[in-house]
């Protein structure tokens, strides 16, 4: 498994697909630093790109994942030639609709607290990207992961610019 915790983002112009009743704002694209993929060199029958700690408090969007294409953008075709690996989708909460403190994610449940964790507990998204990763592994020792957000829905309480927020990426290969 390969991980990247240090990443930078690139701002691009808003997509034409933004909800027509919302102001157009540039949505930042995520581009990872180079991820070493030597651990993935063994033969695998399935490989996933896993995004952990994904924020889903804001807009709903499609996160288009491209490998080794740092200039991928809103108009980049979704095909293997451009390194398209797949998409994940976020069904966002649309921003905060409660009073002060409503959207603050409380920590792990205290002892004897039977309630499930906060509804905004960050999500885990899995993109099954077996063929894309197989091709990337065959070509080099490192890859970059680019995530292009295509905003689908939001509200006046949503941040349309800082759409992609997550803690880390893992590349997971299943062998045997």
């Amino acid at each position: 498994m390969a991980q990247n915790k240090n990443a930078r983002s690139v701002a691009v112009k808003a997509a034409k697909q933004q909800p027509k009743d919302q102001p157009k704002k540039p949505a930042k694209i995520y581009v990872s630093s180079k991820i070493a993929i030597d651990p993935l060199k063994r033969r695998f029958h399935r490989a996933d790109i896993v995004f952990e700690g994904v924020d889903h408090s804001g807009v709903s969007y499609e996160g288009r994942v491209f490998l080794n294409n740092e200039s991928a953008g809103l108009k980049t075709p979704k095909n293997s030639k451009n390194g398209y690996a797949g998409s994940f989708h976020i069904f966002g909460h649309g921003g905060c609709f409660g009073d002060v403190g409503h959207c603050e994610v409380r920590g792990l449940p205290r002892t004897y607290d039977p309630r499930p964790a906060h509804a905004l507990t960050p999500a885990r998204k899995v993109v099954i990207a077996t063929e894309a990763l197989r091709q990337a592994v065959a070509k080099g020792k490192t890859i970059t992961v680019t995530v292009v957000p295509i905003v689908r829905a939001g509200t006046s309480r949503s941040d349309y610019e800082n759409v992609i927020k997550f803690d880390r990426i893992s590349l997971v290969a299943y062998t045997g």
């Binding site: 807009v59 609709f97 999500a123």
Partner: protein, 262 residues
């Protein structure tokens, strides 16, 4: 009904049946006029604003070391309670599913019966639903902003899910497909806070529930991690174990039969 079970059909099947959607329209219309716990605002408000009881993604609960995801069983329970509440208004109601992979959906997008502004001589209760005041915004009706019908999932997208034999894996991918549709419809369906106020929400989740049902036919109704079974599905008086078999919940999904003479 068949064998005492409520049979859920597709929207397209009901559109092609004279009077097929009459009971649903009648029930929704009545619920949308009721302000108490039998009404639209009450039941839709359980999912997002103001109660936020809906279960999406994995979460850790008391005593849990590993997150668990009750997305599918929770929404199955939610639909069950909602369907019974709708049947209180019209006993012939069965929730229909919206097959967003069908050729018709890929042509028209949202089914005509859910997009026509008028139906049965009045406002179409399937086209929009009432919403409460969400300060600072006042009460209003739901709106949509659907994407190109060509961008809806295909049967291959669903078939790909059927090849996943592990429940957690299947749930993760089906939930992602579910997220995609919410974004496709957009508008109030597009965000958690307001989605359940849109009548198409129930048909969309009926399709999600049906896909799980079809996966269960292939993998067994009990194909779920054992530590999920006794998890409560608040606020419903049900656990995960209670909702695994749709027949035991009193419903089934319509099948398509072709009969030939021997």
């Amino acid at each position: 009904m068949a064998n005492g079970l409520t049979i859920r059909s597709s929207i397209e099947g009901l559109e092609n049946t004279p009077g097929g959607l009459d009971a649903l329209r009648d029930a929704y219309s009545k619920m949308q006029q009721i302000s108490d716990n039998r009404g639209w605002l009450y039941w839709s408000g359980i999912h997002g604003f103001p109660q936020y009881m809906c279960w999406h993604h994995g979460r850790v609960g008391m005593g849990d070391a590993v997150p668990y995801n009750l997305f599918l069983p929770w929404h199955r329970a939610y639909l069950l309670y909602f369907e019974h509440t709708a049947r209180d208004q019209n006993n012939a109601v069965a929730l229909p599913w919206w097959d967003w992979t069908s050729p018709n959906s890929h042509q028209v997008g949202i089914p005509k019966s859910y997009s026509d502004a008028q139906a049965g001589g009045g406002n179409n209760p399937l086209a929009a639903g009432p919403m409460p005041a969400m300060p600072p915004d006042g009460p209003r009706s739901t709106t949509r902003n659907p994407d190109d019908p060509g961008n809806l999932p295909t049967p291959d997208d669903v078939n790909g899910l059927m090849s996943l034999g592990n429940f957690v894996d299947f749930t993760t991918q089906l939930e992602d497909l579910h997220d995609r549709i919410h974004g496709w419809v957009s508008g109030d369906m597009g965000v958690v806070a307001t989605s359940a106020y849109d009548p198409i929400f129930w048909a969309h989740h009926c399709m999600i529930d049906r896909i799980w049902y079809l996966w269960q036919l292939q993998n067994g109704v009990n194909s779920i991690p054992a530590d999920y079974l006794d998890k409560p599905l608040a606020p419903f008086a049900l656990t995960v174990r209670d909702v695994l078999d749709v027949n035991r919940l009193g419903y089934d999904y319509a099948q398509t039969f072709v009969t030939v003479n021997a």
